[in-house]
């Protein structure tokens, strides 16, 4: 396929879509499928078959549309009419919507989402522009929305240096959590000398409660491939790997199909878009280790070695896969690339706050009314995210804290709700942007218990190479457990603080160094809860059972028992 054919295909598909008098987009993202989206699709399909599958009616199973807790979702598109979205759609409701729409009648109001619902209207969707709008397995539909146009533009109009410069100008920073400038990283790999270079997309998302990467890979796989191909052109690589978490079989399968389709269409493989550039992409599937999200461990895993991190330098940009310079970015970072060239680096740079430019995808979950996947401009305040987009807390609870960055991040208390969400501000609060998990917690969450949960996760996921992470996390977990069961003393709290600082400073890789963050940040903002557990043996949130005694009380009790036994000679 060359550039002209690409434009023709886009035009043809677009015309076909516009000719439809009714298009039904059913969200088939994993949460919606769990809520019964497949039955909705089957019912609609049956209805359409009964009607003789008219060409001007289209039923599309899309990727994630966003408000996951309200699934299954059905979006109805009619020419010259605003789009309408229904939540919690049953097969019956879907059939009613279809038949009333065909009879040109008033569509049912039941479960219809309001037109200017802040969940949708407050978002800026760049990375998720196609998520929920196209069939993830359809190359044509991706192309119809301007897909692979950025790659064509880069290959035919720009030199590799121009592409790197464009990414630098956009101000894009790594979306995996580190926040290093993507453009600079690309330039670094471009300048590295090496016979071969590689592009790696990190799709090993493992934070509890985060599913941005999964959703992106499942909803819009071609976007990642396009971003990787542009990166390959920019740095001079001819081979890319997508590292997909083993727990995401659907993502792997869709990426696999996307790669095949793109290769068949001449958009990947040799002579991409009739240029001299060749780029192959292969999938590597993880085996369930969180640490493989760390770049050096991920590279070891791709090379077939044990998933353990190694000391940097040398950074992967100098010596990565098999010692060759390797560009490794998160899949969301690659997802941003086509948008940057679509709207132009300057326009991308215009969105955002301070040194953080563009948008960020968050998985909004926890005790918030509208759970789901959102994409917001950098610098939006946490209050807007939780109370406008999220619709406030469930059951009218009071907001207590928001946890960002998963087990490497921290908690942000209620008094910091107006902080703009960007890399620097979150770091100043002792948390991190991370990959984009955002867990909202109400007054019924005990912060010690939350810290303990994350520490349990870290101790389970430590690779075991370095001592502070391997054993330190276990000891921190035991100290937290002691605070939760009421047997801790002030000295334990001291030891906890010392140990957290030590693990943070001495661990080999990012996993260990960030593991104490949930404890340190809850200690910083919610120290009174720790104190209440220890001094008053009381859990303010009413979560911990406190059924054990601290050692000094245990001793006292023992003495009392002994003396009681001596006085009256009776056991009790």
């Amino acid at each position: 396929m060359n550039r002209g054919e690409l434009a023709e295909l886009a035009e043809a598909t677009l015309q076909k879509q516009q000719a439809c008098r009714l298009r039904l987009l059913v969200c088939c993202g994993t949460p919606c499928v769990a809520a019964g989206a497949e039955a909705v699709v089957a019912a609609l399909r049956e209805q359409l078959t009964r009607l003789g599958n008219p060409a001007d009616l289209e039923l599309v199973s899309t990727g994630c549309q966003g408000p996951c807790s309200r699934g299954p979702l059905l979006t109805v598109l009619q020419p010259d009419q605003p789009e309408q979205v229904w939540e919690k759609v049953t097969p019956e409701l879907a059939c009613t919507i279809l038949s009333t729409a065909l009879q040109q009648q008033q569509l049912p109001e039941q479960n219809l989402l309001p037109k200017d619902w802040p969940f949708f209207s407050r978002q800026i969707r760049l990375v998720l522009a196609n998520s929920g709008r196209i069939d993830p397995e359809s190359l044509e539909q991706y192309i119809a929305r301007g897909g692979y146009e950025s790659l064509a533009q880069a290959l035919h109009e720009m030199s590799p240096d121009d592409v790197c410069d464009g990414v630098v100008q956009s101000g894009l920073r790594g979306r995996g959590g580190g926040g290093y400038s993507t453009g600079l990283k690309w330039q670094l790999v471009r300048k590295s000398s090496g016979g071969r270079k590689f592009v790696v997309a990190n799709g090993d998302e493992g934070d509890p409660g985060a599913y941005m990467d999964r959703s992106l890979m499942e909803s819009d796989p071609h976007r990642i491939l396009e971003g990787m191909a542009i990166a390959g052109y920019a740095i001079g690589a001819d081979q890319g790997y997508v590292y997909v978490r083993g727990e995401y079989p659907v993502a792997a399968q869709r990426l696999h199909k996307a790669i095949k389709d793109a290769e068949r269409a001449g958009l990947l493989g040799s002579r991409v878009l009739d240029s001299s550039f060749s780029f192959r992409i292969d999938i590597r599937i993880g085996a369930g280790a969180f640490v493989c999200g760390e770049e050096t461990a991920l590279l070891a895993s791709i090379m077939g070695r044990r998933g353990q991190s190694r000391i940097r330098p040398p950074y992967p940009a100098e010596a990565g896969l098999w010692g060759c310079p390797t560009l490794i970015n998160n899949v969301e970072t690659f997802g941003n690339i086509p948008s940057i060239f679509n709207i132009g680096p300057q326009a991308f740079n215009a969105i955002g706050n301070g040194k953080s430019r563009g948008t960020k995808v968050f998985a909004l979950c926890g005790e918030v009314v509208n759970n789901g996947l959102i994409e917001v401009p950098m610098g939006i305040s946490l209050r807007e995210v939780v109370f406008e987009i999220g619709g406030g807390l469930t059951n009218g609870m009071n907001f207590k804290a928001a946890q960002t960055g998963g087990p490497s991040g921290g908690c942000i208390p209620a008094e910091k709700l107006d902080t703009p969400v960007d890399y620097e501000n979150l770091q100043a609060l002792g948390s991190i942007m991370g990959s984009g998990g955002l867990i909202v917690m109400g007054e019924k969450s005990c912060m010690v218990d939350v810290a303990r949960f994350f520490m349990e996760f870290c101790l389970d996921e430590s690779c075991g190479k370095c001592v502070p992470c391997r054993t330190g996390t276990v000891e921190i977990y035991r100290l937290l457990s002691r605070i939760c069961n009421g047997s801790a003393s002030q000295r334990d709290l001291q030891t906890l603080e010392q140990l957290c600082q030590m693990v943070k400073d001495t661990s080999l890789c990012g996993l260990g160094a960030a593991a104490p963050n949930p404890v340190l940040s809850t200690l910083r903002w919610f120290r009174q809860e720790y104190e209440a557990h220890i001094n008053d043996r009381r859990c303010p949130a009413g979560v911990c059972t406190m059924n054990e005694l601290p050692l000094h009380l245990l001793g006292e009790q023992l003495l009392q028992r002994i003396s009681a036994l001596r006085c009256d000679g009776e056991e009790y």
Binding site: R306, I311, S462, R470, R478, A513
Partner: protein, 240 residues
Amino acid sequence: MPAITLTINNELFSARKEQTILEIAREHGVDIPTLCHFEGLEAMGGCRLCLVELQGSPRPVPACITKAAEGMVVTTHSDKLIEYRKMLVELLLAERTHTCSICVQNNNCELQALAAKLGIDHVRFDYLHQQLPMDASRERFALDHNRCVLCLRCVRVCDAVEGAHTWDVRGRGSTSRVVADLDRPWGSSTSCTDCGKCVQLCPTGALYKKGATVGEMKKERSFLNRILERRRLAAQGRSL
């Protein structure tokens, strides 16, 4: 080989460019404690005992891996580092069951010596008391997981020097364990050549010669000296 100058503990030293901070420090009599490191084996950086402070670096760096550079300012024994080292050794002591009084390696043990040198008289953390099995199925040697510190010297020497790669690691985190031949009993390992290099390099009593009782196991490493020295120099691009 270009020469460089760096400052260690307020003293200026000159060194060759490919040397690590640890090598330079040891050449000049500055003692940095190590456990997983062994001259001539590929550095791992796992025990974190050799961490040193580097001016301009936000976190301490491992001396065994970090290559020296011109103008580096290194501190090897700040109060913070000493405290961290103590905590690290305490963590190691708490992790498995290190009961010196009944250990074959008593008085010849590197972990014991480190603890004594750092002045550790008690462990502030919970002893984890993992109940781990022993593997005495090999004719001449035995492995006691309860004394293993996961320094992985055995894994590295078996792979890089003997070329057998009998040893590897299974599991992760605190459940990691050294295993022979895809987790078979050592006795049924077909790749093991009984060379004993792993046993001699083991810093604790985890790998030992059968027949040794309390305090009788002494590690004999002289037969490895020449080969490891050659590897050490090769890593710096020099020859004997």
